[in-house]
């Protein structure tokens, strides 16, 4: 890293470029955080026995930003000692690429794991993002959480 970045308490972004997980960790990690937890969701190569080639992620972008901020705020209210970064990528992603990264920096692991779990479950429930899976023989909108 070229310059020292300020530590942030909340990061909530929708992006199109590949997610730089290490940079995201650096944005919320700090000397008081003995536990830095990271969840990275990636494009899986199969769905119920069918080979997945790639996934297109579409968002209601302005609302998605708002929902990510809301989730970050809720996590910070319940676990004020935690700092959190949430980034969801949209566009066409290949197998293995990260679609989402969530980093929680916490003084202790127990609160960190709880905050991270709450954040990803809230994303799965409310973030207005849709994935269209491309198989060898066609594409479908995913209609259930997975």
């Amino acid at each position: 890293m070229d310059a020292i970045q300020p530590i942030e308490t909340e990061v909530a972004e929708i992006c199109t470029a590949p997610i730089d997980v290490a940079a995201l960790q650096a944005r919320v990690a700090h000397a008081g955080a003995g536990a830095v937890l990271t969840f990275v969701g990636t494009v899986r190569d199969h769905k119920r026995g069918r080979r997945v080639l790639r996934i297109h992620y579409e968002a209601y972008e302005s609302m998605a930003r708002r929902v990510l901020h809301r989730i970050a705020g809720e996590v910070r209210r319940e676990w004020p000692e935690c700092r959190i970064a949430l980034v969801h990528r949209i566009g066409l992603l290949e197998v293995g690429e990260a679609s989402i990264a969530i980093v929680v920096a916490s003084p202790h692991r127990v609160a960190g794991f709880a905050a991270l779990r709450a954040a990803i479950e809230a994303v799965k429930r409310d973030l207005p993002v849709w994935k269209r899976e491309f198989f060898e023989d066609g594409a479908v909108w995913v209609q259930e959480g997975s």
Binding site: G41, R66, P128, K131
Partner: protein
């Protein structure tokens, strides 16, 4: 009154457009708008029971009352993460 409707993912496939405008009676609710859209775009019918709605980028229930100039979004079950 007139509202703007945003259609995402499978809802866009069903209507064939990302954005449309809709004339409604004053006092109309989200459920009324949805019922009119199903008549115009029968392909939406299977999606309606699982659709969620947002007005001004906030989730709202079907009984939410719409106002002139509102932006209503049709949100199929989300699958982010």
């Amino acid at each position: 009154m007139k509202i703007t409707v945003l259609c995402f993912a499978a809802a866009r496939d069903a209507t064939g457009v990302a954005t449309l405008s809709l004339e409604l009676e004053p006092g109309a609710r989200v459920a009324d708008a949805s019922a009119i859209l199903v008549v115009r775009h029968p392909g939406l019918a299977p999606a309606v029971p699982v659709l969620r709605f947002a007005v001004a980028e906030e989730f709202v229930p079907p009984e939410h009352v719409l106002h002139d100039g509102d932006t209503l979004a049709l949100l199929p079950p989300v699958s982010g993460g």
